[in-house]
Amino acid sequence: MNGRKVSLRVIALGYLGVILVAPLALVVWRTFAYQAGDAWKALSDPETVHAFKVTLEATAIAVPLNTVFGILCGLAIVRRRFPGKGLVNAFVDLPLAISPVVVGLALFLLYGRTGWFGHWLNAHGYQILFALPSIVMATVFVSVPFVAREVIPTLREIGDEQEQAAHTLGASSLQTFWRITLPSIRWAVVYGVVLTTARCLGEYGAVAVVSGAIQGKTETATLRVQEEYENLNTAGAYGISLVLAAIAVTTLVLMSIVKPREERV
């Protein structure tokens, strides 16, 4: 029994080590070990700073949008009955199933000069492609599922008795949501937000297609990594990667510190 437990643990940790930790550690090591100066130079480059700004802007718009959508969508799927519910449930997962590049191409077809919406929008002076709107749209699309996927099982698990109790005690639907439902699912929401944030920061494929990666304008942090790498400035690429990874890891660590143990519902 005990030996089996130990070997399972070794396999799990070994797998994580090879797949996850080793590459991350390598990034850290390469950044600091030999090319810390070069990395810093690449990071302090105004174009890199701008690239981070674009990424953070897109994230700052996509995360709140998808948080609200995810919660509403979860409530609708778990608590309501409506025709087409199964379809909605399946569609929420679509961004996980479709390659981001395909998403980018779809946006391109819609908003390009000859696209369905693009034609009209261009004629009225709105620039969607190769500008922030398309980057935001791509980021929002690829990060749709995370909050909903965290919230749905939690809503199922807590059931609706507490909400019914709140109603019988005089609470309106809105009061019930703010005072009962939301506090009960808060850790699922927080976890969903963390995952959404991580996904937004890391988005590459869809954004690569629609943004045009214009330096200092529509280049995001991940596109910047690619750019530096292609220009054989590996130190810069490592440096930017490290910052991206650090943001993601920090949010995860912060969450696990804040989240009380007994509330792992």
Binding site: E161, Q162, Q164, A165, H167, T168, L169, G170, Q175, S184
Partner: protein, 317 residues
């Protein structure tokens, strides 16, 4: 009448939960809705609370037609089988919830909650979370929470169903005392006939979405309206067309003309009473209930042949 349910029907898909049910509940009474699972008793309670919408029929509370009203506008207190405690709130916050929704003054809330916590014997546990309470304590908190808003009617859905037998008996007795003090019109749903008989003034027996009988505990036991009530409320032996309660069977060691012969299959000692399972020659099984003294006098043994005679029986139709 405090609650008046008129011709209420409710279907869930193919299943008829309530079939034209009409029930009257007197103000200040304690009424039990009694029936096996699937009889519609919980659905009826939830229709009264507004947690289910009836397909047809109407519900009146204190003379007002509340059929179309949302639960939050009905002024009912509801207690759930699985407590429905607000897990992220303390006991105090749970009980104060209804009052804080009604935006009562802080001092008023504090006083009311303190009084209620004393009433349900949870003083000192105000700052605990529901997860730190026992099942019985949680349910008393649920009761205090429902009572906090001075509901015109208190509705309890199998409130003690998830508790162990001893706590259940305790809370049952305590609920009856509480009702005698507060006189809040109360409806309690239960599948446990003993519980219904013990706490209620009036028992509404339900079966397959219909009301079988409405009566006080004594009448229900002594004059059941039909076979279902006879067999569901209390034990009954079927002897031909008639029904006989286990304590209405007389056991003798000698035949006397009107008796029939049977063999003792099992003797079960239940403290003060003794239950004897008999098999008659024709293969029919009977249960006889004796006091311990009676059983000892007869010196009964397993496998022994005895003679049995009904002293009182009930026939329907």
């Amino acid at each position: 009448m405090s609650i008046s349910v008129r011709q209420v029907s409710k279907r869930f898909g193919e299943f008829t939960a309530l079939d034209e049910v009409s029930v009257e509940v007197e103000a200040g009474s304690l009424t039990a809705l009694l029936g096996p699972s699937g009889s519609g008793k919980s659905t009826l309670l939830r229709v009264i609370a507004g947690l289910e919408t009836p397909d047809s029929g109407s519900v009146f509370i204190e003379g007002v037609n509340v059929t179309g009203r949302r639960p939050q506008d009905r002024g009912v207190g509801f207690v759930f089988q699985h407590y429905a405690a607000f897990k992220h709130m303390t006991v105090y916050q749970n009980v104060a919830f209804g009052l804080s929704i009604r935006k009562r003054a802080k001092d008023e809330i504090r006083k009311r909650v303190d009084d209620l916590l004393e009433l349900v014997q949870l003083q000192g546990l105000a700052n605990r979370y529901p997860s730190q309470l026992s099942g019985g304590q949680r349910q008393r908190m649920g009761l205090a929470r429902a009572l906090a808003v001075d509901p015109s009617v208190l509705l309890l859905d199998e409130p003690f169903g998830a508790l162990d037998a001893r706590v259940r008996a305790e809370l049952r007795e305590w609920l009856r005392r509480l009702h005698d003090e507060t006189h809040t019109t109360t409806v309690i749903v239960t599948h446990d006939q003993e519980e219904a008989m013990e706490v209620a003034d009036q028992v509404v027996v339900m079966h397959r979405g219909k009301v079988e009988q409405v009566a006080g505990p004594v009448e229900l036991y002594d004059s059941p309206a039909n076979e279902f009530v006879m067999t569901f409320v209390g034990q009954a032996n079927r002897v031909g067309d008639a029904f006989v309660r286990p304590h209405d069977l007389e056991l003798t060691l000698e035949p006397n003309g009107t008796t029939s012969e049977a063999m003792i299959e099992r003797i079960v000692h239940l403290g003060f009473e003794v239950r004897i399972d008999l098999v008659r020659e024709d293969g029919e099984r009977l249960q006889v209930q004796l006091t311990r003294d009676e059983a000892e006098q007869l010196e009964l043994e397993r496998g022994q042949i005895v003679f049995v005679r009904p002293t009182r029986q009930t026939t329907f139709r």
